[in-house]
Structure formats: structure tokens, C-alpha cells
Amino acid sequence: MRAFAANTPMPDMGELPWTPLTKPLSECRVAIVTTAALHTAGDEGFTPDDPSFRILPSDRRDLRLGHWSPNFDRSGFTADLDVVYPIDRLEELAARGTIGSVAPRHYAFAGNQEDTLTGIRLDHGPAVAKLLRDDEVDVVLLTPV
């Protein structure tokens, strides 16, 4: 699976963007953006090549794994949500003062996408960026599945 994914076509995205941290991590608000296709129990699941996202409120743990590919292990997620979506670990880091705070909302995409990823690049990715900035997020932790 790794060898297959490593050889899939990559879009040309130009120069690397770079946003340096301007304050200590202990003062930063952190959010998770996962491509594990998670969604809350009442929310709509993902379809193949679905470029849209789902909002994961910070206090929700009743999350489903909606990834449609059969090539990923789901037993780890079933045993422990944090192995995919480390929300409890972030809460602990906030309680310790390692990070400033945990964002009120996090976001999930489906990691299996068509090659150009147009919807994520031009529509849904920027939309999530705006929501994150609305919540005054400084740092985003991205987790795959």
C-alpha cells in the first residue's frame, strides 16, 4: 500500500508556503485536521472521492470512521480514538501548559481523492482555513489514516 501510494501522481503546487510561529507553543491554540474521514454519529458519511469536510466539535468522542478504502487498519481506531485523532492527548497538553488551548472545532476530510485534488485545493481547504482562523487557531496538527 505504501509503495502504491508513493507512486501516485502528485499535483504541482508551486513554492512551499511557510507560516512561522510568532509566539511560544504554550500560547498557541491547536486544532486537528484529519484525513481519516471521521464524522460524528449524526453527520453524513463520506462517499468515494468526496472532497468535502466534516466538523468535529472538540467535546465529541462519538466519531465514526467513514473511510471507504478497505486497505487501512480500523482496529486501532476502534480500540482507541486517539491513535488517529489525538483529541485527549491535546487536552492533556493544554492542561500541562505545553500548548495554550485546544480549538473548539476540528475537521475531517477523506484521504482518498482524485489526483488533482481540485476541490480541496480551491474550495474545501480554504473554507476550513477560514473556519480555523475564525476560531483563532495558530497551529494545525494533520493526521492521516
Binding site: L16, P17, T78, R89, G125
Partner: protein, 225 residues
């Protein structure tokens, strides 16, 4: 995910990505990435191991101190998947008149329910409820025996049906063992040790023989199976 990291970074957010496929991150680098050679589907490495998960996060957040990028570092620990099937007790045969997989799924219901009670949520529900899993396995068993897959009685898309069946077994398995199963153990257990896994693979082979579209039969199970 590397694309998302770049999109978010371009919109003024500092990102750090946990990387599961190094070859992708090398060709489309995110601003900051920590590669973990862990089983796919476990980006924090080990379930039920907060100490290890905090180690992954600490190494990831440390990349935020770098003055320029791209930064791609490796977590020093490699976690191999165990290819040996999960060792756990299975329900006894109860009704020999039923296909073995149907009987088995009914027998695993208590374990599935224990997991559901603990987690409060199930990932089943694409096209089946837990109650419908034995019925779906009866359809797969009929197809495995040669029934025409187009008229065998799938209640929904066969791929989604197989997802739900596999999820039912994954969720039941968590309550059959004391510690979280290794990634490879769970998969080997399902496909090699359970009647459901064997039935699913046999049905898939039959559907391929019957000319079902590859996008259906291939995605009913892991590609390497």
C-alpha cells in the same frame, strides 16, 4: 494530506503533519512533517499507549521551531505489523443448518455489543445495521456458492456491505482480547480465521469470475487479499 497542509499554511496557519507514506511527502513536501513507520491507520503509533502518543506529538510539535522548510523527519521507532492472526476464542457452532459465517456473526453479537457499550458509537451503518450483518453474510455465502451476485439480495452496495461486515468483526474483536489487537493480527484474524472473512473472499472471487466491475469486487477486501 500534504496538499491540505500546504493549503492551510498558505492561509496563515502553522502546520505540522504526521506522515504515513514517506514517498508522498518526499515528492510533495508539507511544510513540516514527521514520518512514522507505523501500521497504516495508526498515525499516533500505538492504541491505548498515551506515553507513546505524547512522544509522537512532542516530536511533531518540535518541528515548529525550525526556521525554514520543508522539514521531514522520521520517528525513531518502527512498529511492524504482526502477521500472525489474533488469538481469541470464537463462538461455537450453534445452528449447523445455517451457513457457518451467519452462525458465527450471530455468536459474536455479544462481543460487538460490549464494544458498543464501551465506546458509545459504532462505525457500522454505511448500508447495514448490526442486526443485518448475519443476513448480509448469508447473501455473501450464497454468492460464494455460485449465486448470481446481481440478484443475490445485497441490501446495498457490495463494497459498503463488506465494510460494515468487517467493521462488525473489528468492533467485536476488541472485546475478545485484553489489549488492542496489532494491526496485522486483526486483519489476519478476519480474513484467515473467521468464516466471515473466508466467505467474503470466496464471494469476491466468484464475483470477479462473474464479471463484476473491478471497482466493486476489488474494494470488497484489502487489495493484497
Amino acid at each position: 494530506m500534504c496538499v491540505l497542509a500546504r493549503v492551510l499554511e498558505a492561509h496563515g496557519l502553522s502546520t505540522v503533519a504526521l506522515i504515513s507514506v514517506r514517498g508522498v511527502a518526499e515528492r510533495l513536501p508539507p511544510p513540516r512533517g514527521l514520518y512514522g513507520e507505523f501500521p497504516l491507520g495508526r498515525p499516533l503509533g500505538r492504541p491505548d499507549d498515551p506515553e507513546f502518543q505524547h512522544d509522537v506529538l512532542a516530536r511533531a510539535f518540535a518541528l515548529l521551531d525550525r526556521p525554514s522548510g520543508p522539514v521531514l523527519e522520521d520517528h525513531p521507532e518502527v512498529i511492524e505489523s504482526d502477521a500472525q492472526p489474533l488469538a481469541c476464542a470464537m463462538p461455537p457452532r450453534f445452528d449447523p443448518d445455517l451457513p457457518e459465517a451467519v452462525d458465527e456473526a450471530r455468536g459474536l453479537r455479544a462481543a460487538y455489543d460490549r464494544t458498543l457499550a464501551r465506546r458509545g458509537v459504532t462505525s457500522i451503518g454505511r448500508v447495514l445495521t448490526a442486526d443485518q450483518v448475519p443476513e448480509a453474510l448469508a447473501v455473501l455465502a450464497a454468492v460464494a456458492d455460485g449465486a448470481d451476485w446481481t440478484t443475490a439480495g445485497f441490501v446495498g452496495d457490495p463494497v459498503q456491505t463488506c465494510h460494515d461486515v468487517r467493521t462488525y468483526y473489528d468492533e467485536a474483536a476488541v472485546s475478545l482480547v485484553d489489549v488492542a489487537p496489532d494491526a496485522g493480527q486483526g486483519e489476519a484474524w478476519f480474513y484467515e480465521q473467521t468464516a466471515a472473512g473466508r466467505t467474503l473472499l470466496a464471494a469476491r472471487a466468484q464475483m470477479r469470475e462473474q464479471g463484476a466491475p473491478a471497482l466493486i469486487w476489488l474494494y470488497m477486501a484489502r487489495a493484497t487479499r
